[in-house]
């Protein structure tokens, strides 16, 4: 099945990660990448060549990756512990919980090829649990940038943030969501991509773009949508969420994650506890043996595409 987004001329957020980290390292010798044989998949080969003293390789050993990263961070290093999200947030979850979050070592835990980016490789290589697992762990910011702008900004902000951060992105080329001139990116502040009054679509990561495409489809049917890139899942921008939910007649959330414990449930829990009760739908990966195929196949199968998102919005508005 065709990719939803044409591969050219856009870059993957992973490419932006590599470029941004190199740029930061040019002027800051404390920027350290820690890898678990993941410099290739993390596009950090050029970084390693350019800054050989600033890349620490531990081999395929994710628990050690995070523990070592915590030790480095405790000595003032700005550490980017980089590994596929599926391994990093499952095998090394206890290290993230104890050595990073609980000990408050300001490691940037970078989950690459997240969600179903490794679609056809199967469940071993999917990370559909990471928001849920990390949301239940105190003291770690959770960020899933949507486009290249958000990715670059998120990495820059992470490098300056003296707190544990989980950054999560995929490897698909991502078009820009909107013009960014004059914009200030902050963790915990969602971005309004487009505004409408019928339905609020709150999405994160690589699902924001199909959410925006869904808004365009809905417009053809005279339904206007607000689309939010909720790049920070924690701390959630509850002010923005409450505002758009009150403004619109229905709320749809979209994420490349299990429908359990992720962005959708975070939004639902907040709105319900605030007494803001609107027709509500969480779009994500359901609780079942995940279908096989590419990321695009999996998205299409579960309706994580413009048609699926628009259809759910219309259903809520009926």
């Amino acid at each position: 099945m065709a990719e939803q987004v044409n591969a050219l001329p856009y870059k993957a957020n992973l490419d932006i990660y590599s470029e941004t980290l190199q740029r930061l390292a040019e002027t800051d010798s404390n920027i350290i990448a820690v890898t678990s044989d993941s410099r290739g998949s993390g596009k950090l080969v050029p970084f390693g060549k350019k800054f050989p003293a600033q890349i620490i390789e531990v081999g395929i050993a994710e628990q050690n990756l995070v523990g070592v990263a915590a030790g480095l961070a405790s000595c003032g290093k700005k550490v980017f512990a980089t590994s596929p999200a599926c391994f990093l947030t499952a095998r090394a979850l206890e290290q993230i919980k104890n050595d990073v979050a609980y000990s408050n070592n300001p490691v940037n835990v970078v989950g690459i090829s997240a969600g179903v980016s490794y679609g056809a490789l199967g469940t071993t290589h999917h990370s559909l649990h990471d928001y849920a697992a990390l949301r239940a762990i105190n003291n770690i910011i959770i960020v899933a940038p949507a486009d290249n702008y958000e990715t670059e900004q998120a990495i820059e902000v992470a490098a300056k943030t003296n707190a544990p951060v989980y950054l999560r992105f995929g490897k698909k080329p991502m078009p820009p969501l909107k013009e960014t001139t004059g914009e200030v990116f902050q963790f915990g502040k969602g971005r309004v991509i487009t505004e409408g009054t019928d339905v609020a679509i709150v999405a994160c990561g690589e699902t924001v773009y199909p959410a925006l495409e869904a808004a365009h489809l809905l417009k053809e049917k005279n339904i206007t949508a607000t689309v939010i890139s909720m790049h920070t899942i924690r701390p959630l921008d509850t002010d923005l969420l409450a505002h758009v939910a009150q403004q619109c007649k229905a709320v749809v959330t979209v994420e490349e994650h299990s429908v359990y414990g992720g962005l959708g449930e975070a939004c639902a829990a907040y709105l319900l506890q605030q007494g803001i009760c609107k027709p509500f739908k969480i779009i994500g990966i359901p609780d079942e043996y995940t279908v096989t195929g590419s990321q695009a196949d999996i998205f299409n199968h579960y309706g994580i595409n413009k048609e699926g998102i628009a259809a759910q919005a219309m259903k809520l508005l009926q």
């Binding site: 350290i32 620490i56 050690n64 990263a69 480095l72 104890n98 000990s103």
Partner: protein, 274 residues
């Protein structure tokens, strides 16, 4: 300190460990008593760390991987002046920072530990940071022999040798007992010396309850230039109290008042024979 003074310190520490465990009605008694001499020698003779330099980037680092024997660490930290000893009266009480494992809420504690197999990887990262910054500080971590089967220890062992971390010293408190049975019965990790040597470490063995021997061996770090140092400290679980020594139930047994009195009596008697 003279050897005699160090021996006296160890007995003093053991008495206090028991005092606060009895007060809290909780604690890891046997393991705290087995590692007392190691902590005594590290903090009083080997490491460059004190309340005065604890925020200095140049201080030596101590990371206690076997976090459950925190009572020994707290008693030594109090003695070194990191916090008033009377704080330990709140051990394991509601809202106290003096809980059953080390946390950074307590002055002098480097890392929050408690889950096993975590200290060594953090110590490796800390030692790499020292090398990157051309700093001379050293990193010490204390492991239990019961946590040897944790895979993360062996992952970290590989990295430490790969990065030639001769500023890192891992000490195993080898008391041969863990919560279920002897370490040999639960999961035999012997011979530790051959295993760690084959992983690229310089290995030495010592009587881990002999302060003089500990001082001698730890005064000569690294054991070999270009290699991390692994010290197998042979200890006795429950050391210093006859009915606790090598007895499984004292892994986290709390003495009754009568047992406590006997333990203190025995420790005070041993003070006379130094």
């Amino acid at each position: 300190m003279t050897t005699k003074e160090l021996k006296q310190k160890s007995i003093e520490y053991r008495k206090k460990i028991l005092q606060y465990i009895v007060k809290a009605k909780a604690g890891h008694t046997g393991g705290s008593l087995s590692c007392t001499d190691i902590l005594n020698v590290l903090y009083n003779e080997i490491m460059n760390v004190s309340p005065q330099n604890f925020t200095s980037p140049d201080r030596d680092r101590y990371i206690q991987s076997k976090g459950h024997t925190v009572e020994a660490l707290f008693v030594v930290l109090a003695d070194k002046g990191f916090f008033p000893e009377e704080d330990l009266n709140t051990l394991c009480q509601y809202k106290s920072h003096y809980i059953g494992h080390p946390t950074r809420k307590v002055n002098g504690v480097e890392q929050n530990t408690g889950a096993l197999g975590h200290g060594l990887p953090i110590a490796v990262g800390t030692a790499i940071a020292a090398k990157l910054d051309n700093k001379d500080f050293r990193v010490f971590t204390l492991l239990g022999d019961g946590e040897m089967p944790e895979g993360s220890n062996w992952e970290a062992a590989l990295s430490a040798a790969h990065y030639k971390l001769d500023n890192l010293c891992a000490i195993v408190d080898k008391n041969n007992l863990q919560i279920t049975a002897t370490t040999a019965d639960v999961c035999n990790t012997d011979p530790l010396d051959e295993k760690w040597k084959s992983f690229g470490w310089a290995v030495k063995e010592v009587d881990g309850n002999d302060v003089e021997a500990l001082k001698n061996v730890l005064s000569n770090l690294p054991f070999e230039a270009g290699k991390p140092s692994f010290l197998i400290a042979h200890t006795t679980k429950g050391k210093g109290v006859s009915y606790m020594e090598n007895t499984l139930k004292w892994h986290h047994g709390v003495p009754s008042n009568e047992e406590y009195k006997q333990a203190i009596r025995e420790l005070e008697e041993s003070l006379l024979t130094i």
